[in-house]
Amino acid sequence: METKYAITVDDLTVAYNYKPVLWDIDLAIPEGVLMCIVGPNGAGKSTLIKSILGIIKPIAGTVSIFGKPYEKQRSLVAYVPQKGSVDWDFPTTALDVVMMGTYGSLGWIKRPRQKQKKAALEALEKVGMLPFKNRQISQLSGGQQQRIFLARALVQNASIYFMDEPFQGVDATTEKAIINILKELRKAGKTVVVVHHDLQTVPEYFDWVTFLNVKKIATGPVKDIFNDDNLTKTYGINYKVSVQE
């Protein structure tokens, strides 16, 4: 049987000021995997996600989501940017930020109503942030802010979730809570793509991995390809990681 791919990337090349950040990436991510992208700083991990989502225009290559261009499949995709990419002093509440997740399904001009509010409240409940719904976002801790971002993605009820370093600057409890939600998503048949930094937790958290350093080094099931050889190729030093059995 042919595997169904959630995301296919062909010959993707992205450059900032004529310096390639991603070079000729071919990637096929099967549906229903919980995948992490690993690689050193500047490897183009965030750029890869952003170009799949059409936020950055590549100079070459194509991306498709379930066989169609991203522009036609927006409703199937949710995105959690890096926490540091927004101004948390923005005058708004936790609930309002989560509501932003519903804007995509509303389209232009239409305003969110009770239905959207209800969905947002449910998402807040799922990440354990319901009591903070009216809290101004600058009054939330780093972990709480990350949960709000996760709730905002959940409310989109997508098939594919992209997350840019969701574990950055969060405590162990929040990290556990987030990974549990991600595992639930996988159980529900969703595809989750996470930019990840902590190599130690890769085998524990993920079942699929992509090694990236400007070029794609390897992609596949964690149990098959998460080894010292690929790590060394990606990080350029003799990398040893003890994989727990």
């Binding site: 000021n17 952003k50 989502l53 059409g54 936020i55 522009e71 927006r74 995709v77 995105y79 940017p81 990419s85 927004v86 101004d87 923005f90 005058p91 708004t92 509440t93 309002d96 930020v97 932003m100 804007y103 995509g104 509303l106 389209g107 232009w108 001009i109 305003r111 969110p112 009591p131 903070f132 101004q136 600058s138 009054q139 801790s141 905002r152």
Partner: protein, 463 residues
Amino acid sequence: MNSAQIIIQIIVALVAVACAIPGTFLVLRKMSLISDAISHSILLGIVIGFFIVEDTASPLLIVLAALAGIVTVILVEYIQKTGLVKEDTAIGLVFPALFSIGVILISKNANDVHLDIDSVMVGDLSLAPFDILQIGCIEGVTDSCINLGPKAIWVIGTILVITLILLFMFFKELKVSTFDAGLAAALGFSPLIMHYGLMTVSSITIVGAFDAVGPILVVALMIAPAATAYLFTKDLKKMLLLSCFFGVFAAISGYWLAHILDASISGSMTTVLAILFLLVYEPIITSILVSLTVGTSTIFYQYYELLVANETGIEHMLLGEKIQTVFAEFVFLDYVYILIIATVLTAFLIYILPKRGVIYGYYKVRQQKTEIMLLVFLLHIRNHSEESERHVKHLNEHINWQRLRSKSIVELAQKNNMITIDSSIISLTKKGEEFTEKAIDYIITNKDTEIEEMKDDFFLFRG
């Protein structure tokens, strides 16, 4: 008030609201300075428009001016994108260049034209009520025109209505693209379209407000109300409403300040805006200063009117002489009035203003210190069942506090019904027991939800 005064006030109020709305988003997008750039560059558009149609009243001038504003934004982006300089530098490079081309064009070709540098720089409203929009005029027939009222009201009114319609239609798009451009792009709301949409509205608004307040002070009307509102609230809708309110308040009171001082309207409006910002930022000190000034000037003005009515010739004096003459008439009782007015105003301002500023900050730190001590004290009592540890007199030795401090802490705990003292032995009440439990829980687990209701009473838990 005569009708010309009312019309000028309507114009400034409309300008203030029209500026405050895009201004709010500029402040939130950290693009305040772009309004400065646009307001200067539009001069080039106006000059070019004037050379084409040779008429200062043509709508083409407005269109070209707005276009010049948008060109400024595009050039700034372009230079910034090269990665050679940062945004602020790019702004600093672009607008003086465009502005100076405008200046050269005026000085080379329009020396005989009435483009008064003063009215261009700070605006001129005094003639606005008499510049009437007329339609249906038939040449040679007197009284054939239909008067539609002052042109300035029509121009800025139209801009305001368009701005409001756009705001209502695209509020959610503006919000999401301002807060998180990445998400907006992923959801299909092009941040680029929102950016240029906002810039176009800002340019047109600045052009419309140009006549009223001039290019320098229009920046104040865009930025200051929004910056003040930002200190006040953490809700975007409220921030928009408040910046409109501050803008209108500054516009109207600025107009009257100008009237009293016989000074520039736009200058006075900006002064009021600066005072408003200071009031919110540092309420106690500013409100004392402002209310003293208001108190003095109110009574000063009454005296002045009285002296004018008595035909002392005071209106022909220089400002310094006026002040001397009026103060010579002051009686002691008036200083008391000033103090009373100042006190009432200060109390009122402090009451309605949020708690910010140095004095309040000092008070808050002190209060937090007291509360942490209260907690230490309560915890000590809770941890020790032996009577020797709970004796009033032993407390200063054990916790190592000064006598006065221990006394005040014990009193605070007593006042809050957290402890009872039975023959000099302190024990926790049920309330004290619960409070300590919760507070310790919070400090260890950092679980905010548990202590939501405690936050009203205690500084400690407000983070």
